[in-house]
Each structure stands twice: as structure tokens, then as C-alpha cells.
Symmetry: C2
Subunit: 117 residues, 2 copies
DNA sequence: CAGTATCCAACACGATACTG
DNA sequence: CAGTATCGTGTTGGATACTG
């Protein structure tokens, strides 16, 4: 709400975290990184996510310019989601984190609520 | 809560996000990366964070082996927080994300609630 | 100074039902 | 199939007061 006071960090990271924030967006990024995916398939991949949350996250990523939504006006209705160039660059920036987490997998507390892996 | 079903992603990222999850942990990482810092200083740096949340996050990072807490039993009481080697590696893995967010700073929706920058 | 203890508010998430 | 609408809930964060 307020501007920076004595904070002078660059923290573009905050922006990034704001984009991939929540509980499912990073998983979403992962699924989308594989190529165009349909809504139903994502739901099945990310078993446990509700339609509402999935739709919300998809929308937010879309609003951020990370995801492209291609609607095929046909019967039955079909929608395909894919990463934009910006989305691809984000998923690339996310990789080191992925690697780090994977490398230190057992050095970290093995919580049970870390979502599907 | 439940185990993986048809999800087979590596997603070490989930682990990482679980560690730097919340709203302030990444900022915290940033502040800590500069070297040993005292509680009060962090509060001032991360203007807006409450003591409760700061203490919680600090504790979680400590539990994850990311942060080292050095207590000086003297008067007045003094405590210094610093990154462990693991913490340093994490902050390094976080950098690309930082760079990405910074580079696409204005390509992204300029929300107001993204915390101090 | 460095926390801990409470209480409260906001929001993200989850489950279900319904629509184009 | 691909959502939207609604409701209830759990977790996270914020504000304040109090303690070692």
C-alpha cells in the first residue's frame, strides 16, 4: 500500500512471487510448460485442485501475460492453455529453484502438505 | 494430504516454494543475504511486517536449516540472524527469479499490494 | 531489545451445484 | 467440456499488548 521507506532492495522477486504465488500456480507452470493443455487434463494432472481455484489461477496467469488461452468455438467446446514467451521465460527462471528443491529434498523437513509431487 | 496419484512431475519446486512460500520469506532471504542482521533491523527493513509474522517466518526458515540464529546472552539481549550455506544456495537459486521479475517489472500488472520494493 | 500471546480480518482454498 | 456461482472453512497475515 505504502511506498518504500528505508527499503532499498531490488526485489523483482516479489513481483515474481506475486505472479506464481499461491498453492497451485507453480504446478500449473509445470504442466503448461509441456505444451498446450486442455482444462480437463490440467485438472487430472493436478489432482486435488478444484475447478474454481484452477480457473482463478489460470485467469490470473492469463492476466499477467504468462498464459495464452485459445478458445475453439466448436462442439464440444474446447479450450487450450499454453505458455506465452513471457511464460516460457518465467518457467526457465523457475528452474534453478526446482533444481534446488530437488537437490535438497531430504535435507528439508519432509512435510506432508506440500501438495502432490 | 493425499499422496501423488497420476501426478509425476519432479516438482522440487514445491519444496522450494514451501520453504520460501508466504508473503515475506523471500524478502527475508534478501535481507539476510546481506549478512548477519538483528531482529529489529529486519523489522525496519521490511517495513510493514508484524513481529508475529516475522518471528514465525524466521522460525520456519530456521527449522528448514536456511537461517542460523545466534543468541548473545547479554544485556541488552541481542540476536543475529544469518544464512546457513544451505540458505546461501537458496538465495542463489532465487536470483534468476529476482532478475526475471525485475526485467519484466512493467510488463506485469502493477499491483499495489506487492509489498515494499 | 527480542520476542510471545491474543484476537481479528482477509483471503485462498475446497466442495458442490448449476450453466453455455 | 469448460467453466461460473455460492457457500463454508482453514490458513495466513495484521494489530496490539504483554513478558524475559
Amino acid at each position: 500500500m505504502q511506498a518504500a521507506s528505508d527499503v532499498d532492495q531490488t526485489c523483482g522477486m516479489s513481483i515474481a512471487i506475486d505472479v506464481v504465488g499461491g498453492k497451485w500456480k507453480m504446478h500449473l507452470m509445470w504442466v503448461l510448460a509441456e505444451g498446450p493443455v486442455r482444462f480437463g487434463r490440467i485438472r487430472r494432472k493436478l489432482d486435488g485442485v478444484s475447478e474454481k481455484v484452477l480457473a482463478e489461477n489460470l485467469r490470473q496467469l492469463e492476466a499477467s501475460g504468462i498464459v495464452h488461452r485459445e478458445l475453439y468455438a466448436e462442439v464440444p467446446p474446447r479450450v487450450e492453455y499454453s505458455l506465452t514467451p513471457l511464460g516460457v521465460s518465467l518457467s526457465e527462471a523457475l528452474e534453478p529453484l526446482e533444481v534446488w528443491g530437488d537437490a535438497n529434498r531430504d535435507a528439508l523437513a519432509p512435510r506432508s502438505g506440500v501438495a502432490a509431487c
